[in-house]
């Protein structure tokens, strides 16, 4: 197959036993135009392993000093020349079609600069000789791309990701100050600039040994303080503008003082906001300096001492840079999704619409609007209250309702799971069928429907959906469930055939070279 050059980067640290499998899976790609960077991050010598492949496409960076994964990735990226880049950990493997699958979709869909596939998470037991006994292969995450979800948390695993190398010119390289979640950090930054193309094929495996506490990613997660610090550091990251796929949000804090209650409000904003934002605080500059605040993403809007409340807001409104603006009154109740529901409503709204936040009231008016609408209203009616000026300018002020949420899909799945736990499988099926009408996460929903139909005893429906599912993308779990349905219907030879397929996947028959 001919096509653009792809750079595969494999950082490695003290995993001599597994590196040959990882590197072997990269070398054996059915897409040949690749360069493979193996970066030894100061671990035990692996030069013999690398040279044993005798493949001119491998570029070995043998560093003696341990500098961490981000540093290793950046070191390879500095030398990479591929149009596209993908990543492989030293204990994981690609299937032979991984690169060709992702290059194929990116070349066919040039508006997408990132693509990702699905993976098996392989639960395994480490045997005394260090080899891995496979216990399960599960597709733990298979979500269609959702920008809000990506801002909240990662749903594209690092080794499943391929991106254009020039995207890094906009996002910057890997953050070497992070200890964990570096993959989410980079994927989140990608999301400011491009949509991600989700390929539902399973093209790789990542290994998760039971009771292995030595992994950096696991150790980092166990230290909750450190973990939260990393999450907040990632969420406050704002790549350089212009952002092509994300509207910037300016939050204007309507307060007289920054002390006590208002400091608490600012802390709540930092803790509960995952949508990218800047917080603008209109107050005299000398008082701002006295505050010596360490909060990230805060900007002082310098105003004179006697400036009125509305004048302060208007000044901040003119200085702020976001396409969306939220006016946050002091004392406003901040909870999860407090502002994301409003930005999501704005994303899906018509012109001349703005949104009063869920907990807003007559006396504590919090509103989200497009900046140009807000400025137009304030310029036309500066003497009016905020609400009156918006109304007078012809804007429709709608209230964000309870059901408006970027995570509506998850809310419904939660509800269905709750019904399953109550044994109300019929209701769960109804919810899944409702979700199936949307265009999102079709395989996932179909899997849920099969499970619910099976548990409810609707075997005819279960077998119909199960066949559709396994024709499209069989996994160990979908084959196993299908086999159980066949057993219930006394079709034992059908069950055996399905179970044999599941067994072959578990035994890695497609990885015969290993």
């Amino acid at each position: 197959m001919t096509g653009p050059l792809v750079s595969i980067i494999i950082p490695t640290f003290n995993r001599r036993l597994y590196l040959p499998y990882a590197l072997g899976s990269a070398v054996r790609q059915d897409y040949e135009n690749i360069e493979i960077f193996v970066v030894n991050d100061g671990g035990e010598d692996v030069s013999d392993i690398v040279s044993s492949f005798d493949d001119p496409r491998i570029i070995f960076i043998n560093r003696e000093e341990n500098r961490g994964k981000s540093y290793s990735l950046n070191q390879a990226l500095a030398k990479a020349t591929g149009k596209y880049v993908c990543y492989l950990d030293d204990d994981d493997i690609y299937y032979s079609n991984h690169v060709s699958t992702l290059v194929g979709v990116l070349e066919s869909n040039p508006d997408y600069h990132v693509a990702y596939s699905d993976l098996y998470k392989v639960y395994c037991r480490i045997l005394p000789d260090g080899s891995r006994q496979v216990l399960s292969k599960v597709v733990e995450v298979s979500r269609d791309f959702n920008r809000y979800f990506m801002f909240y948390f990662n749903h594209c695993l690092h080794i499943s990701l391929m991106h254009r190398r020039d995207l890094l010119e906009k996002t910057g390289l890997y953050n070497e100050n992070l200890n964990i979640l570096i993959d989410w950090d980079i994927a989140r930054r990608f999301a400011f600039f491009t949509d991600f193309y989700h390929v539902e094929d399973i093209t790789a495996e990542f290994y998760s040994p039971l009771e292995d506490d030595s992994r950096i990613s696991i150790k980092g997660r166990k230290d909750l303080g450190e973990y939260k610090k990393n999450v907040l550091a990632i969420r406050k990251t704002r790549p350089t503008k212009p952002w092509y796929k994300t509207k910037d949000l300016s939050i204007i804090f309507d307060t007289d003082e920054v002390c006590g209650n208002s400091i608490n409000t600012i802390g709540q904003v930092v803790g509960h906001t995952f949508y990218p934002y800047m917080l603008y605080i209109p107050m005299p500059a000398h008082r701002w300096t006295q505050m010596n605040s360490n909060f990230a993403n805060m900007v002082n809007v310098d105003v004179a001492e006697q400036t009125s409340r509305l004048e302060k807001i208007d000044k901040a409104l003119n200085e702020c840079e976001g396409e969306y603006v939220v006016i946050l009154p002091n004392g406003f109740s901040i909870t999860d999704l407090w502002v994301e529901k409003a930005t999501y409503a704005l994303d899906n709204s018509c012109e001349n619409e703005c949104f009063e936040l869920e907990d807003s009231s007559e006396y504590c008016f919090a509103v989200a609007a497009r900046k140009e609408d807000f400025i137009k209203a304030r310029n036309q009616f500066p003497e009016y209250s905020l609400r009156d000026s918006l109304n007078a300018a012809g804007l429709t002020v709608k209230k964000v309702d309870e059901m408006t949420s970027p995570f509506e899909f998850d809310s419904y799945v939660h509800l269905a799971i709750q019904k399953e736990e109550e044994g109300d499988w019929k209701k769960a099926i109804e919810i899944y069928e409702y979700l199936a009408k949307s265009s999102q996460n079709q395989l996932w929903i179909k899997t849920c429907i099969v499970k619910a139909c099976f548990e409810a005893g609707y075997y005819d429906a279960a077998i119909k959906f199960s066949e559709e599912l396994n024709n499209k993308r069989p996994t160990v779990n979908t084959l196993l469930r299908h086999a159980k349905i066949c057993r219930k219907m006394n079709d034992y030879s059908g069950a055996i055939e399905l179970l044999r397929k599941a067994e072959q996947i578990l035994e890695g028959k497609e990885l015969i070279w290993m």
Partner: protein, 209 residues
């Protein structure tokens, strides 16, 4: 705030489950050698699980190899002393060896652990017949019927026991239900006729007295 993952769970027992299913399917269709191979694989995958040994015991029973079956069920019991299927398996061996009292006790233990176990229930019934004692099993049949109210074969067995105990009205009511559920069940129809005849005879006798 919590957002959900895909439906496939954090599952470390999937391979074991596939092997057990393969063993069970092969055993059901009478392919005992592959069934045995899959149970052995499952046992090596999860050495602490009783399930594969129950499977091996069932296969040995089908092959009439009582000694191997006995060993397998005992291993299953040792791994999990509340494994109802191990008790049922050991009971079957006792029954086949003619030790009806031993079989009866083991079936009872199985039913205590799993009142839903039809094999044990029917075994209990058979062992009772073989010993000529029925009173103890009525309770278990009633319990089972509470959970499986449409099981005609158990209805029939229980109504027969009621009849032997002289509880003719209970027996008749149960048989009426059984026939309503399965009008083609000739055994139930015949027994119902017999009981109705007996009831009318008894009534006639009372009138004459």
């Amino acid at each position: 705030m919590d957002v959900v993952k895909n439906e496939e769970s954090n599952d470390s027992t999937q391979r074991y489950e596939v092997l057990m299913e393969l063993g069970d399917c092969h055993a059901t269709v009478g392919r005992y050698e592959p069934a045995r191979q899959y149970y052995n694989k499952a046992a090596s995958m999860s050495p602490d699980e009783a399930g594969p040994y129950v499977g091996l015991g069932v296969v040995a029973l089908h092959e009439n190899n009582l000694d191997d079956a006995d060993i397998a069920f005992r291993v299953a019991y040792r791994l999990n002393n509340s494994c109802s299927k191990a008790f049922a398996g050991m009971a079957m061996i006792h029954q086949q060896r003619g030790d009806y009292r031993g079989a009866f006790d083991l079936y009872l233990k199985c039913m205590e652990l799993d009142p839903d176990n039809l094999t044990a229930l029917l075994g209990l019934f058979q062992a009772s017949c073989q010993m000529g004692t029925f009173s103890k099993i009525i309770h278990y049949l009633e319990l089972y019927l509470k959970m499986h109210s449409a099981d005609v074969s158990v209805m029939f067995s229980l109504s027969a026991l009621y009849m032997k105990e002289g509880r003719l009205e209970d027996s008749k009511n149960l048989l009426l239900n059984a026939v309503a559920l399965d009008p083609s069940n000739q055994d139930a129809v015949n027994l119902l006729e017999e009981i109705e005849h007996k009831i009318s005879q008894d009534m006639q006798l009372e009138v004459n007295i």
